[in-house]
Symmetry: D2
Subunit: 325 residues, 4 copies
Amino acid sequence: MMLSLEGDRPLDLVTLGRACIDLNAYDYNQPLERTKTFVKYVGGSPANIAIGARRLGLRTGMIAKVSDDAMGRFVVNFLKEVGVDTSGIVVDHDGHKTGLAFTEIKSPTECSILLYRDEVADLYLSPGEIHEDYLRKSKILLISGTALSRSPSREAAFYAAEVARKHGTRIVFELDYRAYTWKSKYEPMVYYTLMARLADVVIGTRDEYDVMEGGRGQDEVTASQLLAYAPSIVVIKHGVDGSVAYTKDAVVRAQAFHAKVLKTFGAGDAYASGLLYGLISGATLERALALASAAAAIVVGRHSSSEAMPSLEEVESFMNESRER
Amino acid sequence: MMLSLEGDRPLDLVTLGRACIDLNAYDYNQPLERTKTFVKYVGGSPANIAIGARRLGLRTGMIAKVSDDAMGRFVVNFLKEVGVDTSGIVVDHDGHKTGLAFTEIKSPTECSILLYRDEVADLYLSPGEIHEDYLRKSKILLISGTALSRSPSREAAFYAAEVARKHGTRIVFELDYRAYTWKSKYEPMVYYTLMARLADVVIGTRDEYDVMEGGRGQDEVTASQLLAYAPSIVVIKHGVDGSVAYTKDAVVRAQAFHAKVLKTFGAGDAYASGLLYGLISGATLERALALASAAAAIVVGRHSSSEAMPSLEEVESFMNESRER
Amino acid sequence: MMLSLEGDRPLDLVTLGRACIDLNAYDYNQPLERTKTFVKYVGGSPANIAIGARRLGLRTGMIAKVSDDAMGRFVVNFLKEVGVDTSGIVVDHDGHKTGLAFTEIKSPTECSILLYRDEVADLYLSPGEIHEDYLRKSKILLISGTALSRSPSREAAFYAAEVARKHGTRIVFELDYRAYTWKSKYEPMVYYTLMARLADVVIGTRDEYDVMEGGRGQDEVTASQLLAYAPSIVVIKHGVDGSVAYTKDAVVRAQAFHAKVLKTFGAGDAYASGLLYGLISGATLERALALASAAAAIVVGRHSSSEAMPSLEEVESFMNESRER
Amino acid sequence: MMLSLEGDRPLDLVTLGRACIDLNAYDYNQPLERTKTFVKYVGGSPANIAIGARRLGLRTGMIAKVSDDAMGRFVVNFLKEVGVDTSGIVVDHDGHKTGLAFTEIKSPTECSILLYRDEVADLYLSPGEIHEDYLRKSKILLISGTALSRSPSREAAFYAAEVARKHGTRIVFELDYRAYTWKSKYEPMVYYTLMARLADVVIGTRDEYDVMEGGRGQDEVTASQLLAYAPSIVVIKHGVDGSVAYTKDAVVRAQAFHAKVLKTFGAGDAYASGLLYGLISGATLERALALASAAAAIVVGRHSSSEAMPSLEEVESFMNESRER
């Protein structure tokens, strides 16, 4: 096993960051301005990962801040229904809203998102709302990079990382870069770098690492610079060209599976779910990457990002079928 | 005719204020947090009034600011399609979004709205975006009270009123109070009072006049205080109990029509459309109020507020049928 | 008497707006960046006018918001010492500071001010801090235009004007334009126009009226437009070229006195003090303007704006001496 | 020598953070609200340290942002006059002001400061204004903790630290905690901890380390926690009870000198100047702490914090005299 974990804790994984609403075009293959009907799903990368990892069999929970309205209640209710622990979720009482993402699916390769993220509740998560006890209950804390984009959520994330380290809770940092809420190119450079060096596992696309480094970088350099600090695994994703994981001793590469693509959203969240399932269940890094890639390939063929998360059976049967082809 | 209008102008009515998106629950009679499917419509009181008055046969236009995205384009395209002049609409280039209203229709009498109005484009309409030429083209400028809730839209509305007065364009002030964007109870008191005294016609519900006056008021007092300034007609609405119009010489009362109510949204906008159609077409005040009430009664039975606006034929046939019952 | 006043009230004049700190260069005739020593005085136009009118013999008070620190206490203590009623002054408990003005006196004709007015306490005066009883106690309420430059002070000023009118307290509007805190050229146009039309007396320099009108205007036009609303006296100042007052029936002009000029600050505040003393004491408009001009001529030869305010004896003796020359 | 430095660089020390104005009461021993006359000095901890270290003979420079007005020009001119390199100082063109500190000296033990630091220019220093070349020119970069209190100055400081490390420029972190500009107790906890672990030398009072740790701590624990990361020297100050420096191998304690105290301001800045002079000139840690303590003891007996900084001769003669007593 690549990542030594504290045993015997009631939760395998707690994710920290946004829990939002996706409003997915019901009729796709047309521009958003012509779309008339939308279907509402829970969304947001860390919420999707908590759901996806739960679907795969892990015991998961979430640290988040949601609005005190129908949208916030919808998010919490859905997480509860699928078995994600919501005792770490706080309700905002200052009128901040739950973020929205309207998805536009013009074609499988032309997907875009229209975000409503001004003054959203998740960015108002504050350090005082992070509970030491809750972090001590979980083997892993996953921090979403978007949580670093604004104060006080930014400080909440760093504070949670500090508390996690103190209690032996491993830290996974998912870069999860969304340009929208950052104020300058320097902000993600500074805070991604500080957080990545604190984490045990770092996951991101090549483009996201480039944002962190402030320019076009190379995988080996990125990995070796991070492995000089706390990280023991650095995962770099290249879309259809597969992904690669670096450790101090090894480099492991994984192919992307061929998939019938409906939209690209949610692929990264499914990937992280599969990877973490692998790492927590004690799989080899090779198998963890394969599980990650398979979960991603399944989600891109489905309409939502959260409800679409596959079960372990689905992932395994998908992997078997792919192997046979 | 109660309101003397400049003749021979290319537009009858220009409305100033928000043009937004309504996301109406597709399956009503359930709480919003359970609603999964939403249908998108153009919304916002002044947009609805421009649409409603156009449907009744007036030549209408709009002064508004919309987002530079699919939502803004949807709004402008819809207005164009139904024949509302959009040459007074400006596009925001600072990243502000078009406002959203999620409607919850639990039952005909339990309707509520969840608003996304943080930093919305319409409140960033600025005085420099008000064009004197455009105001000179119209017989009437209708100002929505919500435009007064924030700077610079607040100054844009007062500036537009000043320019309108200079060119003999009559001013209609629709109180259109939405608690959400105001910072204190004093703000609407101060700015509603200042604007109402500048207007030729003032339209609002009893509750809205109470907000303006800072306490429970009486119709005759409200009317006589305003008629001492510029207004020549003061219309006060009492929901199912009908409405009343005061002029310097007369008091005219109108019954509400019996209606099959689906939801209450949009009733006020249809009312204003009917009233303005009456005033502009030279009807008596009695008939103008009747047209207003009939248009309102039709809209409450339909799913949207904008697309549901009735034609003159529909209004007249509804009035005939009601009379026969 | 030009202005009918309610008799028998405990205060003659209450001024509303900023009470600040002037830090005047001790060694003048040099640029501010070389100045090492500063002397602290109370400043801010409405504070200076309350002090100046008191010095002339009126019973004056002030409605203001000051910081909860040594600067705020200094202001209140000084006002008390010179006999200005401070019971209408509230203390800010949200950490806002008292504004500062560093004066640079390079030469009698090259004076400039460096203002510290970000988030100052006076602009946080709110309508809920305006007491009806206090306004009912005074014959006149003077509103400083700078109070209109930001919310909630802006609403507080309009609310106070409304309450004053209700109780027969006359309203004097001193345009007092300071570019610093306004966000666009339209804001002073809109709010100065709205307030000037509500006032009984309007006082300003030609430049200030031009800001209000949005372009270069003419005295007679400015006056006639305002006299069509509530104002009964419109005073327009032309610096060394004298000043002129318009009423519905008359035009009265006054020469500026020859003065030994040290700096130009404070002249306008002394002018207003003298004018109001004249109006309240029942002088003719001619004599009121002469008192105003004499008070201004005295202050420009002294180091401060507040402590320099002359007594009635000083003003009268100055007028006599000037006449003899 | 405790700190290995890159040799042969044109500057010994560059400080990063605020360069402000102190307005010191001319007549002390009275409360600020009675003080009428103030004398203007350059102030701000990193400015004072650049000046103090220069006075001791080091070649120093500063990275700062100042206002585009007489105050900003005064600061830059003074730094130039005393020989501090100002080529790293940028001028703010967005209207932000230079911070002010009014000092109140009631008695030698009752000193307080009234700060004007809303929207000040120094907190608007941005990462794009940090020049790699400039950092490469200096042996040491000193970062003031106050620079971490707000964005974008916060990111500028972390970015500068990263660039410094890349070029072998040693990092000194002076905690310099001023409660005023921080928004919560968690912000300094999070950012002080992140920065302290990046630095080679950390300097602060016991109280400042307690702010960083979020509670009452102990010197040995504080030191050992930091020495596990980048720092090689951790200096903790205890006011009149002396100071202590921890390295991986040693603990060095220094007595405070007896001093005739006029006010307490500036002592910490003089201390840092003396310490850095010692470290850079290759003194033992014992002598560096003694130089630091002596410089501090001299400054507390003088009126300003910047102009009062002693020369090396003054420090040495003070140390000799103290020894003889």
